[in-house]
Symmetry: C2
C-alpha cells in the first residue's frame, strides 16, 4: 500500500480547490496523495500527479480509486452512503466514517443528532407540505428557512420563505433521492461564526481560533481571525461545543461548525467534515493549516498547533466577475500590496463562482479587510485601479 | 502558450526538491508549472502533474520540454550552455539567462566577474598543476582550496589541500568538459552567511534577511534567521552586495550569495541562481517564500515582501541515516513538538543525503535550534527518543 519511503497514500474523493490545497500540504509532508476528480480541468486534477478520473457516484470508479490507498477522505460530502459502506466493507479506512459523514450529508440527521446531544440549534422540524410549514411558522414565526435535507451547498438547497405561498413555490423543487424538507426557525443573528477542530481516530483534537464569517448569497465571502469582540469565555464555549460535536459524532479529520451569533449566544447552523472555506486563512495564518491537520488527523498522526501566527488574519474570497483572465490582475495587486497572499484555484471564471482567495496577516483587522477586499474586487473586475 | 485562464506556464529544468517546493508555490498562485525530470522518482516528478522525463543534457529533450512554456528556469545549474543558447535562439525566455547563469556554473567566470566589479573575494587564481598551486600558496599560504571550475555542488568538486602532494593527488581527478582548476585562499572564517535576493527582468529587486548557515561536509546543515549578532550596518552591506551582484550580472530570479564572515568583513564564497537551501526557512518564515518570489521574478510580476514573520526562524536539514522509513518518525516528532514544520522530499534515504528539512519560528534561536536538531536527528535515526 505505502510507498517505498514508508509514506502512506491518502486518497481524496473530489478534485476541487480543497483537494488542490490539501495536495500542497501532502507534498510538503512527503505523503502520497491521490485524487478522484470528475474532470482533468478540476482544480486538483490540474496539479496533482496521481489523479484518477471518474465519478464519486460510481461504485466501480471509487473502488478502483481506493485500491492502494491507505485511507480515503473527502473534498466534498456528496459520496453516496452505499459507496462509503462498500469501501468500509472491503476493509478500506474511510475517514470521516460513513456514519459520521452522514451528519454533514443530511441536515435532518444532523439536527436530530445535535438536538439529542443538547447542542444549541434553531427550532427545526421535518415538513412535507406548505401546510406543515405554516404550522411550524405559527409556533416560530415567519419567515421560515426551508432546506433540502441532502445535496445543498454554497446557498443551494436553501430558501427563506415569507409565507405559505412562497413555501409552496420552494417545495415545488424536486427533491433528490433520500432527501426531505426541513423547516428551520429564521434566526436574526448579528453575525456568523465558525469553529473548526481537527480530530484523530485515537481521539486527539485541537481547536482553531473561532472566526467571524460573512456570507454573500450563501457563499463565504470574508473571514476575520479571531472573531472580533468575542469574549474569551464565549470563544471557549464555541470551541468546546465544536470539540464536543466532533467527539460525539466521532468525526475524524477537520470539522467546521458554522454558527449564528445571536448576541445572547450561538446556534449551530451547519456542519462540514472536511477542510472548509472558513479555514483557508490557516495556510499562512496558522502554525498548522487546516489542510495539514486534516491529513495528520486521517492518518492518525499527532496534530499540529492550530494557533494563529499573527494578531489578526483576514481571508477574502475572489468571486468570478466579468474578467476571465485572473492572472493579469497580479501585475496590479502585487505591486499595490507586497504582503498579499493569493491563491487561485485554476477554475474557469463564472459570475459569483469562488475562483480563489486572498489572505493578509497583521495587527488591524479593518485595515487588512480593506486591503483584502480591494484585491478581491480587482480580480473580479468590479474595480479597475 | 498560456492556459485557458490566462496563466502562463513556467518550465523548470530539474526535478529535485527545489522544483518540488516551487511546485507548491505555483499551485497556490494558479501558475502552470512543468518539470523536466530525469526520473519519475525525482522529488518533483512524484507530485507535479505536468512532468516531462528526459535529460537536461539532451538538446532534443529540452527543446521538446520547452514547447508551450512561457519561460524556462532551473532547479540546478547543470544545463549545458549550448542548450541554453539554443533555447534563446528559438525565442524562448530563459531566466536567468545563459550569460548570467554562466557565473553560477563556472567558478572561474564567477571569480573574474566578481573581481571586476570589486566584490570582496578570497584571493584566487586559475592553476594547471601542483607547481602552480605551490606558487599560489607561497603568496597566500597553505592550505589552499582547490576547486573544479564547473560541476561542483554540495561539497563535491572542492578539496582543501595542505601541500603540493595533496594538491597533486586532488588534481589527478579527471576534469569534466570545459572545467579547469581554481585555487583559492583558505579563509579562516568565523561563520558563513547567505544573502538572498530576488530580481525581476525589469530590475525590481528585494533582499531577504541575511542568514547564518552552518555547513557539514559541504552540505548546508542549519540556517538561523536573521544571522545572530550581525549589526544592522553589516547586514545592510551584505544585502547591498547581493543586490549589486544581481544587478551587475543581470540575474533574474533568486540569487543566493554565500559569504564567509571573517570577523572583519565578508568575502563571497559561492553564487547560486535559483532557490537555495539557505532560503527554505522562507516557506513558513517569510511573508513571501523564495519559491514564490522566484516564480514572480521569472514571470516579471511585482515581487513579494521578503520580511521574516517571526523574530527568529531556524531551518535544520534532515540528512539520511540508517532509517529508510522517514514517515514513521512523524509519530514521535509531531507529538513532541506541535509547532514543528516538516518538509520531506520523497527521496530515497542514503547516508548523508538531504532528504528533508524542518523549520521553527519563535523568539529564541538557540531554543528553536535545539528543537530543530532533535527532530532532524530523530528522522536520521541518530537518536531514538
Amino acid at each position: 500500500m505505502t510507498r517505498r519511503d514508508g509514506a502512506p497514500i491518502v486518497g481524496m474523493i473530489g478534485g476541487g480547490q480543497l483537494a488542490r490545497m490539501t495536495a500542497e500540504a501532502a507534498t510538503a509532508l512527503g505523503i502520497g496523495f491521490r485524487v478522484l476528480a470528475a474532470s482533468e480541468h478540476d482544480p486538483a486534477a490540474q496539479v496533482v500527479r496521481d489523479v484518477h478520473l471518474g465519478s464519486h457516484e460510481s461504485l466501480e470508479a471509487v473502488l478502483t480509486f481506493a485500491q492502494g490507498c491507505d485511507v480515503i477522505t473527502f473534498d466534498h460530502e456528496h459520496v453516496p452512503t452505499a459507496i462509503l459502506d462498500a469501501l468500509s466493507a472491503q476493509g478500506i479506512a474511510v475517514r470521516p466514517s460513513a456514519q459520521a459523514l452522514g451528519h454533514a450529508q443530511d441536515k435532518l440527521l444532523m439536527r436530530a443528532a445535535l438536538t439529542k446531544l443538547g447542542a444549541p440549534c434553531p427550532a427545526w422540524s421535518q415538513v412535507a407540505s406548505a401546510d406543515e410549514v405554516s404550522a411550524f411558522a405559527e409556533e416560530h414565526g415567519w419567515p421560515v428557512v426551508l432546506k433540502t435535507s441532502r445535496g445543498g451547498y454554497d446557498g443551494k438547497g436553501v430558501w427563506v420563505v415569507a409565507d405559505a405561498t412562497e413555501a409552496s413555490d420552494a417545495m415545488s423543487t424536486p427533491l433528490g433521492a433520500g432527501s426531505f424538507w426541513l423547516a428551520e426557525q429564521f434566526v436574526p443573528f448579528i453575525r456568523e461564526l465558525s469553529a473548526q477542530v481537527a480530530r484523530s481516530p485515537h481521539g486527539q483534537a485541537v481547536a482553531y481560533p473561532v472566526v467571524q464569517t460573512k456570507q454573500t448569497n450563501g457563499i463565504c465571502a470574508e473571514v476575520v481571525v479571531p472573531a472580533p469582540q468575542l469574549s474569551e469565555e464565549r470563544a471557549l464555549q464555541a470551541q468546546e461545543l465544536a470539540l464536543r460535536i466532533a467527539r460525539e459524532l466521532d468525526v475524524v479529520g477537520m470539522l467546521a461548525v458554522e454558527m449564528f451569533d445571536t448576541g445572547a449566544g450561538v446556534l449551530v447552523n451547519e456542519l462540514a467534515m472536511r477542510p472548509h472555506n472558513s479555514g483557508h486563512w490557516s495556510i499562512e495564518g496558522a502554525v498548522t493549516s487546516q489542510f495539514e491537520n486534516h491529513l495528520r488527523a486521517v492518518l492518525d498522526l499527532p496534530l499540529g498547533d492550530p494557533s494563529a501566527r499573527a494578531q489578526s488574519v483576514v481571508m477574502v474570497n475572489i468571486l468570478g466577475g466579468t474578467v476571465g483572465d485572473l492572472y493579469s490582475a497580479y501585475r496590479h495587486v502585487f505591486a499595490r500590496d507586497p504582503e498579499l497572499k493569493v491563491h487561485l484555484y485554476g477554475k474557469e471564471v463564472k459570475p459569483g463562482r469562488k475562483v480563489g482567495h486572498v489572505t493578509l496577516l497583521g495587527a488591524n483587522a479593518e485595515e487588512l479587510l480593506a486591503r483584502g477586499r480591494h484585491a478581491a474586487d480587482y480580480f473580479s473586475g468590479t474595480i479597475d485601479e
